[in-house]
C-alpha cells in the first residue's frame, strides 16, 4: 500500500465520521472519570489510521485476542475488564493467565503465544494501543463484524494460520472503511516553504544538516512580516524547524536502517511506505518524550514534576536531535519566544504591549540553564525519596532504582544474583537477593547500601509533595514504581541536553547579539503595527 505525495487533495467533510469515532475513544472514561485511553495512545491510534500502517498492529491484536480468549473465549473481559487501558492494568489482568494453556506464556514484560521457535510476544506497553485499535475497529466496522472475524480465535489452541486469517480479515475490513472515510493528506505549505528556503541556503549540505540556528534566524527575519507564510513569531519558525529536523533525521534513519519495506514501493517516483511514514510521524510526535511519560504515569497521584516545573522543562526538546542541531534556537525560543508571546497576547487583548528585552548583563541564557539544572536536581532528590517509598513497601523496583541512584555501590553478591533468567521468572537467587536487600537496616553510618537507604529515608522525610507523604497509600507506591524508569530517563535526558548540547556554547556572546536582533525585529513587527 503506497501513496504519492502529489496526491494531496483534501476531501472536505469526508473525515467527520472518523473524527467522531476518534473523539469517542478519546472521551471514553475510566471509573474515576479520567480518560480510559491516554492522549499518547489516542495519538498513536490516529497515527496508525492516518498512515494506514495497521498491518503489524492488526497482527499483534489478532495474537492478543487469541491469548485473551484462552480462558473462556471472553476476550472482552480482558480488554474492557481493565478500567484504564494502561501498561500496569494489563500486566495485572494477564497475571491470571499464568499457566492457563501450554501455548500461552506470561512473563513480566508481556505475553507470548505459540510453541518452540514460533512464538509471538506482545509487551504490556503495547496493549493500551492494541486495545484502542480494537475499540476503533468495533466502533467503525461494528462489534458483530469483529466477533465474526475473530470467531476463529476463540477455539482453544490455534494454528498461526488462524491468527493470520483473523488479522487479514480485520485489515481488509479496516481498509474498506478507511477507503470511504479517510481523505488523502493535505500538503502542508509551512514545512515545504521552510525546507525550500533551507535548501537554497544549504550549500553542499543535505538532510537535516541544511537546518541550523543561522537558517532558523534568517528565515524568521526574512518572512516574519510576510503575508504569504505564517512565520511572524520566532516560536512558530522554531517549531517548524524542529519538526523538520526531527522528520528528516527520522527519515534518514529509516533509510539507513534495515527496515522491511512494502514490496512495490517506488521511492524514485516519490512513493513512501506507510510503515516508514508511521515511524517518522511517531518521531515527530513531541509528546512521546520522557517528560510526558512521567506526567502521564503520575497523574495527580505522585508529583515527581509539578505543573510549573513541567512548563519550564517543556522548553527543552528532549528525546530528539533538536538541541544538538539547533542549540541556540532552543534558548532563543525559550527566552524571546516567550517575550513575543507576551506581546501578541497583549495585542490580542487590546492592550499596548511592552517589549521587554532581557538584560544581557544578567546572562539570561545562562540563567535559563541554571533553572533547568535546578529542576532536574529537585527531581533527582524526589527519585531518592521514591527509593524509600519502594523500599518500605518491599517493592522489587526499589533494587533497580537503588542501582540507578548509586551505580558505583559495591553490590557484590546481591547485584549478581539479582539477574533474572530468560523467562523473567523470579529465580530463587533473585528471591534471596531481594530478601537480603530488604533486610538491610538504614544506617547513615553503616555500609554503602545502609547509608543510601538512610539518605533515602531522610530525603523522604524532607519532601512534602503528593505521593511522597506518609499515608499517601498503596496507589501512590504503585504509581511511583511504574513512573520511576521514566523519571530516571527524564533526569538523564535533561542532564545530557544540558551538558552535551547546550553546555558547550559561549552564551554570553549570543546574549548580547540576540538582545539587539530581537529588539530590532520586535520593534519592526510591533511598533509599526501600533503606528498603523
Amino acid at each position: 500500500m503506497t501513496a504519492t505525495i502529489e496526491n494531496l487533495n483534501l476531501e472536505e467533510g469526508k473525515s467527520e465520521v472518523l473524527r467522531a469515532v476518534l473523539a469517542g475513544i478519546m472521551e471514553s472514561s475510566a471509573s474515576d472519570g479520567g480518560p480510559r485511553y491516554s492522549e499518547r495512545v489516542c495519538r498513536a491510534l490516529a497515527r496508525i489510521i492516518v498512515c494506514r500502517s495497521y498491518a503489524k498492529p492488526m497482527l499483534e491484536l489478532s495474537h492478543l485476542l487469541a491469548i485473551a480468549s484462552a480462558r473462556d473465549g471472553r476476550y472482552e473481559e480482558v480488554f474492557w475488564g481493565v478500567d484504564r487501558a494502561s501498561t500496569g492494568e494489563f500486566r495485572r489482568a494477564f497475571k491470571l493467565f499464568q499457566g492457563i494453556r501450554p501455548d500461552v506464556r506470561v512473563s513480566s514484560n508481556g505475553v507470548r503465544r505459540g510453541h518452540g521457535a514460533d512464538v509471538f510476544e506482545i509487551s504490556y506497553r503495547r496493549m493500551p494501543l492494541l486495545a484502542a485499535l480494537l475499540e476503533f475497529m468495533i466502533m467503525t466496522v461494528g462489534y458483530p463484524a469483529v466477533e465474526t472475524m475473530t470467531a476463529g480465535l476463540r477455539q482453544g489452541e490455534l494454528a498461526d494460520e488462524n491468527v493470520l486469517e483473523a488479522a487479514r480479515a480485520m485489515q481488509r475490513s479496516l481498509y474498506g472503511y478507511l477507503k470511504d472515510h479517510l481523505p488523502p493528506v493535505q500538503r502542508q505549505r509551512r514545512e515545504h516553504h521552510f525546507l525550500g528556503y533551507a535548501d537554497a541556503h544549504a550549500g553542499n549540505r543535505s538532510g537535516a544538516d541544511v537546518i541550523n540556528d543561522d537558517v532558523v534566524m534568517a528565515y524568521w527575519r526574512s518572512y516574519a512580516a510576510s503575508e504569504d507564510v505564517d512565520a511572524k513569531t520566532f516560536r512558530s519558525v522554531y517549531d517548524t524547524a524542529r519538526r523538520l529536523v526531527v522528520a528528516l533525521d527520522a527519515a534518514a534513519d529509516r533509510f539507513a536502517g534495515a527496515y522491511a519495506r512494502s514490496i512495490g514501493t517506488d521511492l524514485e517516483a516519490g512513493e513512501v511506505d506507510p510503515a516508514d511514514v508511521d515511524a517518522v510521524v511517531a518521531a515527530i510526535d513531541a509528546d512521546t518524550g520522557p517528560l510526558d511519560q512521567v506526567l502521564e504515569t503520575c497523574g495527580d497521584t505522585v508529583k515527581f514534576i509539578n505543573v510549573g516545573e513541567a512548563d519550564v522543562l517543556n522548553e527543552l526538546p528532549l528525546g530528539d536531535s533538536t538541541a544538538r542541531r539547533l542549540p541556540v534556537s532552543v534558548l532563543r525560543n525559550a527566552v524571546f519566544g516567550a517575550v513575543q508571546l507576551r506581546i501578541s497576547t497583549a495585542l490580542r487583548r487590546g492592550v499596548a504591549p511592552v517589549i521587554e528585552i532581557p538584560d544581557p548583563a544578567k546572562g539570561y541564557y545562562t540563567e535559563k540553564l541554571t533553572a533547568y539544572a535546578a529542576i532536574v536536581a529537585g527531581t533527582e532528590r524526589l527519585a531518592m525519596a521514591a527509593l524509600w517509598s519502594l523500599f518500605e513497601a518491599g517493592r522489587a523496583e526499589a533494587v533497580d532504582l537503588a542501582l540507578a541512584l548509586a551505580p558505583d555501590l559495591d553490590w557484590g553478591q546481591l547485584a549478581r544474583s539479582a539477574a533474572e533468567d530468560a523467562d523473567n521468572v523470579v529465580s530463587l537467587d533473585r528471591a534471596g537477593a531481594l530478601r537480603q536487600f530488604f533486610a538491610v537496616v538504614p544506617d547513615a553510618r553503616g555500609d554503602e547500601l545502609a547509608a543510601l537507604l538512610a539518605d533515602a529515608r531522610r530525603t523522604w522525610r524532607g519532601v512534602n509533595r503528593a505521593g511522597f507523604r506518609d499515608g499517601d497509600g498503596e496507589q501512590a507506591v504503585d504509581v511511583i514504581a511504574e513512573a520511576t524508569p521514566w523519571v530516571l530517563r527524564l533526569i538523564s535526558s535533561v542532564r545530557r541536553t544540558l551538558d552535551r548540547d547546550l553546555g558547550q556554547i559561549d552564551w554570553s556572546g549570543h546574549e548580547h547579539a540576540d538582545a539587539t536582533s530581537f529588539a530590532e525585529m520586535f520593534g519592526n513587527l510591533y511598533d509599526q503595527g501600533r503606528k498603523r
Binding site: E16, A23, M139, Y143, R243, A251, R254, L267, V281
Partner: protein
Amino acid sequence: MAANDPVRNLALAALDADEMLRDLLVPGADVRLSFSELYRYVNDPAFELSPAAQDKLSADPAAAADLERLIAARPFAYMPRQAAASTSGAVRREVERAVLTLTPSRATPAQVYLGVEIVDLENADVPTHLFVRSPSGAWLRQALPAFSGNRAQVLLEANSAIANALSTPESEVYLR
C-alpha cells in the same frame, strides 16, 4: 537536497500526515458513543449512561447494534418474547436456567415484586442485572441485589418503565 530525495519526501509526507493526524484529533460537532461506555453499561451495575449518552445511543443504530450484541452475547439466561399476556396480573417467564416472576404486592398494590430464581447456581457466575428490550427496541436495565440462596428479589413501582416492560409479553429479557 534534490526534490525527489527519498529522505526529504518521506519527511514531508510524514509532516503532512502528522498535520492531518492533529486535525483529526480535534473533536468536531459529533462524538460517537464509545464501545467502552457500552461495555461498562452492560457489565457494571453501578455505571449509568448519561442522558446525553442515551440520546447518542438512540440516534446511532450502529452503537445500538453493538449494545444488542453485547447484551445478547453469552448471557446467563435469555427469555424470549411470550405468546400472550398473563390474565392474572402476575407474570412468570421460565427458561432452563432461570425463572422470572412479577408478583403484585398485596401490601401496596402500586408496587410489584420482581423475583429471579436461578438453577445451576454452582456452575456459573450469578447474574447481577437484567436487561429488557421493549417491543419498541429500547433497552432497560435493572440491577439485581445479591442472591439469597438461588433467589433475588426487587421491589418495583408497578407503573415504572421496567415493570411495564417486564409485563409486556413482546419484550425480551436477558439475565447477565
